[in-house]
């Protein structure tokens, strides 16, 4: 398959097993090490049992790119991913503020923002998730269009929504 086609990662949170193999393969690919805090996809567990894989949702209007003062961010036209130019990035955090889901974060050891680059069209996280049969992350060919931005949510917001369904209102109100 062509590695460079417009793709989107669909996320089905209730299927996430919390195994965090996505974090392992992502950090191996991008850092050459097992490094959960540097993984482009981070699994939040603000309430046990509610594991939330948190990654870029590729909003069509890319508010992060607009907010970047140093021209470090750009959209890969083929995959749709947000690409961070490490040399240009000044780690100011404006992209984080601009992101509706507060998805980007500053690399734990270096001074640049970390955002999912979709592994240039062949995301490792999706592969291990599918291999395990969990399918919390699924590859969608094409764009999610205007709906993409609905998935740009903070871990808190996603957790509250899920907690309400699984555990009820009271627990949802506790984060």
């Amino acid at each position: 398959m062509s590695k460079a086609a417009l793709i989107w990662i669909y996320r089905d949170y209730l299927r996430c097993s919390g195994c965090r193999r996505c974090e392992i393969v992502c950090s191996l690919k991008h850092e050459g090490k097992i490094w959960p805090e540097a993984s482009r996809i981070r699994v939040f567990m603000l309430i046990p049992g509610i594991e939330v894989p948190h990654l870029c949702a590729q909003c069509q209007d890319y508010p992060c790119i607009d907010a970047c003062p140093s021209g470090a961010l750009s959209a890969n036209k083929e995959t749709g991913a947000v690409i961070v130019n490490k040399e240009k990035c000044i780690a100011c955090g404006r992209c984080i503020d601009a992101c509706p889901g507060k998805v980007p974060f500053i690399h734990p050891a270096e001074r640049y923002a970390v955002i999912c680059d979709l592994c240039n069209g062949d995301p490792e996280c999706v592969k291990v998730c599918g291999e395990g049969g969990w399918n919390a992350l699924q590859l969608v060919r094409g764009s999610a269009g205007y709906n993409a931005k609905l998935y740009a949510k903070t871990p808190e917001e996603i957790t509250r929504d899920l907690a309400k369904v699984i555990y009820g209102e009271e627990m949802a109100g506790r984060i």
Partner: protein, 625 residues
């Protein structure tokens, strides 16, 4: 040194001092980590005064240790240890969670806690930013409240302290519930809602130190390994083997609540009065209706044998727990005369919430219920509770009495064996025959009378961890059921459940070398390294004290109950043969280098370089004639 973060934390709770310390490469090469290293640390620091150390006193040391394979082997796990308030020896008790990953990523292979904090505290770690904080506001709180409060608080603190870097991901945590705070000897150390290090009773040790929780966030990578390519190759072999266990992945151990009874006749039923049931109401097909998450796992695990169970309606509405797994199914199910998922999920969730171990405490509840059945404990003795088999609400009332140490609860809080001694004294009748324990540790939910399950005659009597079903004795010593294998897993520290197949087990040895760079052969492990750890554990078990000591001639035995024949099911009439038991025990003693009294021989200990252990055991050799 590869695979290790390279540093340990020493936390003196009495003074509040926290310092970093190192363990030499030579010691790590010999004892690896987790259970092995715990044995070495505890022996070096407490061995000479072992019998005098009160497990619940300030002198005990609480250890939380990872191993070099932690984080690399699928399924993160950490080993909790110290002098056990159950066996008075050393127990390596492991629990799955992301805490060990965070700890290693923060730069530490483990934590050693000394002394007692003046007030309730919790330890908060973010890399080298470490502090003890007041825990008064969560003292007395159950699992849910403790987790929700402290995770939120830690995220708030770190979110402000490290602002501008993006959303701060939650730290992982280990904690205790009210059972640990009140020094119940069947209390566990918990993670998430219901993951628990239950064997050993370390929840009570943590409580005795006024330590409510430990939270850690490590932002670094896992430590460097010797050969990353080979490491990943071994990990992938293990994962491939895990993915092949189709039904184990789907059901976890949750199908065993039916089969270990119906098929193998080895499940505790009403305090082991029987081991057979074929209640279809207790089938996995009924349990899975409650699973809101069908695959739930810890760091890097492809098996994900846990499941999240929630009850959304009826009498037991609001119960949240995992699976329950087989041990909780059995011990808080048929063992209490309960044959419905609802009652079982309800009690398991309550056990978790209070911070009890489901095995130890389920055993305790059924012991009390049998005494009630026999009229030895009356309704008055039980504070008005009619403790009938199958009544989940009645058992929950008794649990509350235990955790609050009200009336008989105060006696039961000491665990089955100690409670049996006390009740025998009070009532003037021997009730120890109803205590299904070994060396003060309740026996896991796998019986031996039918001969159809994995444990055998010597499994529990000769284990250095008593009734622990995850660490049973077996010959040959390198067999999958051998205790020396359990020591490998618990020292690694890895999850046993990912190493059932020979393929995965083979890959584990490859992983050990790829991660550490050490060429440890199975021969060296089974003949020398694991034997050293086993002998230290055996020595501390024999030294025991201060409240109880074990005489191998009496206590290297199965519970008396197992000499009674089964009366129901296809293995009706089967019982343990006493003569054969003594023969098998002698054979095991010879295989592991113990003399005819069960004491490690001087020859064996000197061969292993454990001269100080040998010298100390002279005390035992003189008292056992």
């Amino acid at each position: 040194m590869r695979g290790y973060a390279g540093k340990f934390l020493e936390v003196d709770l009495s003074s509040g001092n926290i310092r970093e310390t190192k363990v030499s490469e030579d010691i790590l090469r010999q004892y690896i980590g987790g259970r092995g290293l715990a044995s070495k640390i505890l022996w070096d620091r407490l061995g000479s005064r072992w019998s005098d150390i009160d497990p619940l006193g300030p002198e005990n040391i609480l250890l939380m240790l990872t191993g070099p394979l932690t984080g690399f082997a699928p399924g993160g796990r950490i080993c909790i240890s110290g002098k056990s308030p159950q066996s008075n020896g050393i127990v390596g008790s492991t629990v799955g969670c992301e805490f060990p990953i965070d700890l290693k990523c923060a730069g530490y292979d483990g934590i050693m806690f000394f002394g007692v904090a003046e007030k309730p505290v919790y330890l908060l770690i973010k890399d080298s930013d470490i502090e003890l904080r007041d825990a008064s506001h969560v003292w007395g709180k159950g699992a849910k409240e403790t987790v929700l409060t402290l995770v939120k608080e830690a995220r708030h603190i770190f979110g402000e302290r490290y602002s501008g870097r993006g959303i701060f991901k939650e730290p992982s945590m280990l904690y205790i519930g009210p059972a640990g705070e009140r020094l119940c000897r069947t209390a566990s150390v918990l993670a998430k809602w219901s993951h628990a290090a239950g064997y050993g009773g370390y929840g009570a040790v943590m409580g005795s130190k006024n330590l409510k929780a430990v939270l850690a966030k490590g932002t670094g990578p896992l430590p460097e390994v010797y050969n990353m390519e080979k490491t990943m190759e071994c990990i992938n072999r293990i994962i491939k083997a895990s993915l092949g266990m189709e039904l184990f992945r789907r059901w976890g151990t949750g199908s065993a609540g039916y089969t270990v009874g119906a098929e193998q006749s080895s499940e505790p039923v009403m305090n082991w009065q029987e081991e057979w049931h074929n209640e279809r109401s207790f089938g996995v097909d009924k349990f899975e209706l409650f699973w809101v998450k069908k695959f739930w796992g810890d760091f890097g695990c492809a098996t994900t044998c846990l499941k999240l169970a929630v009850i959304n309606s009826g009498d037991f509405k609001g119960s949240i727990t995992d699976n329950p797994d087989y041990e909780n199914q059995a011990y808080l199910g048929p063992n209490l005369g309960i044959f419905t998922p609802e009652g079982n999920i309800y009690l398991t969730a309550l056990i978790d919430e209070l911070g009890f171990c489901g095995i130890q405490t389920g055993n305790l509840l059924s012991f009390a219920a049998e005494l009630y059945q026999r009229g030895i404990l009356t309704k008055e003795d039980l504070g008005g509770i009619e403790l009938n088999w199958g009544d989940a609400k009645a058992f929950s009332e008794l649990l509350k009495m235990i955790v609050e140490r009200r009336g008989i609860g105060s006696i039961l809080a000491e665990g089955t064996y100690r409670a049996a001694l006390k009740i025998s004294e009070i009532k003037g009748i021997d009730v120890t025959k109803y205590a299904v324990t070994c060396k003060g540790i309740a026996i896991g939910a796998h019986g031996i009378r039918s001969g159809k399950d994995y444990p055998h005659y010597v499994s529990y009597p000769c284990s250095v961890q008593g009734g622990d079903h995850t660490s049973v004795a077996y010959i040959p010593l390198d067999h999958g059921n051998s205790e020396l294998r359990a020591i490998l897993y618990d020292s690694g520290v890895v999850c046993w459940f990912n190493f059932f197949s020979e393929e995965a087990y083979g890959a584990l040895w490859g992983l050990m070398e790829a991660v550490t760079g050490w060429n440890i052969t199975p021969e060296e492990w089974f003949n020398v390294m694991a034997r050293r750890i086993l002998q230290i554990q055996r020595a501390t078990l024999l030294l025991g004290g201060p409240d109880l000591r074990w005489d191998p001639r009496i206590h290297d035995d199965v519970p008396q109950r197992w000499y009674e024949p089964l009366t129901k099911g296809p293995y009706s009439g089967k019982a343990v043969d006493k003569a054969r038991m003594r023969e098998n025990i002698s054979e095991y003693y010879r295989a592991v280098g113990w003399d005819e009294r069960g004491i490690p021989t001087s020859e064996e200990l000197k061969r292993l370089g454990l001269d100080d252990v040998d010298k100390k055991l002279d005390e035992i050799r003189q008292t056992l004639h």
